[in-house]
């Protein structure tokens, strides 16, 4: 291998077409090629990458750790975790829906078609579906919808019905609705702008679905308030649930213990790593944040 003394951060990340030296490994470092990076609304962008097939093993709820380009000439020193928004096996593509916040996501926003983007993954444990479940309810808010969206794909594959309640500040959630509905999910949109996103209203909708037998399991992400609501109703009606959690990460592999959250198991409080035991956890055990 040629060694350029001036090269920073050598890596053996796989590009499309590369021979995979470690096909058996669960996780890889990949250099995807940006196919598109477009604004979905005022706050969110969607980046579509062409990636090595090894990366396409990601399933709903899993994440990648992204080496974001710089937005300003100075380096971005740590990767950023993002849920997989969509795996498009047919076209060898993977998509991330993201909100532009700090330097990492602002760097992502500068990606142009043809650019390289280094991603590591898939990481963590995603959503699981019990064979007995026929209908599930997905409740998400904000960027949490990015994490929940691939559930509709998973559910469709398992012929499980999905009702997705999409909560947002304003009607800019259309994109996720299309994705959910495209895979056969029923969606309900609740908004801050018309008051429909109030906990009481969402509770009414959920109680309605439970009454209709449309709620074999609960799924949520992105709002502590909504998590608490689902925990309460889940306990009341004995409905199992899963929650996807976030935390600042360093390694993504379970080594550094930076990404811990608190859980209560058998009356005892313990810590779990979002990158390893999560990001999807048993909803009733999550202490929230």
């Amino acid at each position: 291998m040629a060694v350029d003394p001036n090269t920073n951060y050598t890596n053996a990340a796989l590009r499309v077409g590369d021979v995979d030296p470690y096909p058996q490994r669960l996780v890889g470092e990949f250099i995807g090629t940006v196919v598109a990076n477009t604004a979905v609304n005022d706050e969110y962008k969607l980046v579509v990458l062409k990636v090595h097939p090894h990366a396409l093993t990601a399933y709903a709820g899993q994440m990648f750790h992204l080496l974001c380009p710089s937005p300003d000439g100075a380096e971005v020193w740590m990767r950023r975790p993002m849920s997989v928004y969509r795996v498009d096996k047919a076209n060898g593509r993977i998509e991330f829906l993201y909100k532009t916040e700090g330097r990492g996501t602002r760097g992502m926003a500068t990606l142009k078609p043809g650019d390289d983007f280094n991603i590591a993954g898939p990481l963590g444990h995603g959503f699981t579906l019990e064979p007995s479940w026929r209908n599930i309810v997905v409740l998400g808010r904000g960027v949490g919808l990015a994490t929940l969206a691939p559930l509709s794909q998973l559910a469709a594959e398992h012929k499980v019905g999905v009702t997705a309640i999409l909560s947002a500040r304003n009607p800019g959630v259309v994109m996720s609705r299309d994705l959910f509905e495209g895979l056969g999910a029923k969606t309900v949109t609740v908004l801050d702008s018309d008051g429909s996103s109030a906990v009481e209203n969402v509770e009414k909708i959920l109680e309605g679905l439970i009454a209709e037998n449309k709620a074999d399991a609960f799924f949520t992400c992105g709002s502590n308030r909504l998590l608490k609501l689902m925990q309460r109703l889940g306990k009341k009606h004995d409905i199992p649930g899963q929650v996807a959690m976030e935390q600042i990460m360093v390694c993504g592999f379970g080594a550094c213990y930076v990404c811990v959250r608190t859980f209560e198991v058998d009356g005892k409080r313990i810590l779990r790593r979002v990158c390893r035991e999560g990001p999807v956890f048993n909803m009733q055990e999550a202490v929230g944040w």
Partner: protein
């Protein structure tokens, strides 16, 4: 093809590249072949189960990160029963890092960890967010001497000592560790640091202080390795800011026999393997037959006299 193997006392490493404690676990086998590493280094373990520090545990800084984890873990019994066997599935030697608040307990831990599957005991006497009475003995020569003497009495395993870059006179502390029977020195742990958020005026980390980790720090740690290498006979493992094969070479030229890597593995999970490959290629390209030729090979004698030296005569 260059021979990359190096000797750290009684232990042979197949190459001089190992992970740094706390930045690694057997779980990295998901992404790289652990059998290619020079050694496996477990996260520092304490006697009791610990949750560690409040979150957030990491914050990005101008050129790196500060972190304060607080040595969480399930305690030594669980470690020996469940974690050592995970590492034992792989071939490289296992280095087990320990920390405690008392010298007696450090020694007792060394004894208890002297089980067959553990190859090296690394005394982490330099966790920067602990104070001297909390086990950060590497800030003081006498504490270091006493702690390593006590550990040495309780174990026949190779004993490595991880020093602190926050100490003012690292050479004296290194000598104290050597005198007390250390088999190797690990230089260094992280730099005690602080970040304050200007939006809410609060410290960025739950634990307030954290250890700075950044490639930017390499020249400082390299200077420490160089200074210590001139004054001790035991091998040195250099840790701080290694991100590429040339950094391994630079540490070895300064006197290190091996390096540890944290940050680079976070940035690129495959970094350690790439660095090993690149190091071999670098040596091959220069006709270096044994990587050990590089150890301490800095050409620091008869520094080329440049025009200024000549000029000095004229003042």
């Amino acid at each position: 093809m260059v021979d990359l193997s190096v000797q750290i006392g009684a232990i042979t490493l197949q190459n001089p590249v190992q992970p740094a404690s706390g930045a690694f676990s057997w779980e990295y086998n998901d992404v790289i072949d652990l059998n290619r590493l020079g050694a496996l280094v477990a996260k520092t373990i304490c006697r009791e189960p610990r949750l560690g520090n409040p979150t957030p545990r990491m914050a990005e800084t101008e050129a790196g990160i500060i972190q304060s984890i607080g040595l969480p873990g399930k305690g030594i019994d669980y470690f020996i029963a469940h974690i050592v066997p995970e590492y034992a599935k792989f071939t490289p030697p296992l280095v087990v890092s320990v920390s405690s608040e008392s010298i007696e307990d450090f020694a007792a831990l060394a004894e208890e960890l002297s089980v067959p599957d553990v190859d090296v005991i690394e005394a982490n006497i330099s966790c920067p967010t602990r104070n001297a009475s909390g086990g950060n003995f590497a800030m003081h020569e006498t504490y270091t001497r006493d702690c390593i003497t006590a550990m040495r009495a309780k174990t026949k395993k190779p004993l490595w000592v991880k020093l602190s870059p926050n100490a003012g006179d690292i050479v004296s502390i290194a000598r104290a560790a050597e005198d007390a029977g250390a088999d190797a020195l690990v230089i260094a742990n992280t730099f005690l640091s602080l970040k304050i958020r200007t939006d809410n005026f609060r410290p960025a980390l739950g634990n307030k202080f954290g250890g700075l980790v950044s490639p930017a720090l390499k020249p400082i740690v390299l200077r420490m390795v160089y200074q210590v290498a001139k004054q001790v006979k035991i091998p040195i493992i250099g840790i701080g800011g290694v991100t590429k094969a040339e950094d391994v070479v630079e540490y070895m030229l300064a006197g290190a026999s091996a390096v540890g890597i944290g940050y680079a593995g976070f940035r690129n999970p495959t970094a350690l393997i790439t660095i090993i490959d690149d190091l071999a290629a670098w040596c091959d390209a220069r006709g270096i037959k044994k990587v050990t030729e590089l150890i301490g090979a800095v050409r620091d004698q008869d520094m080329e006299t440049d025009t200024l030296v000549a000029a000095s005569a004229g003042v």
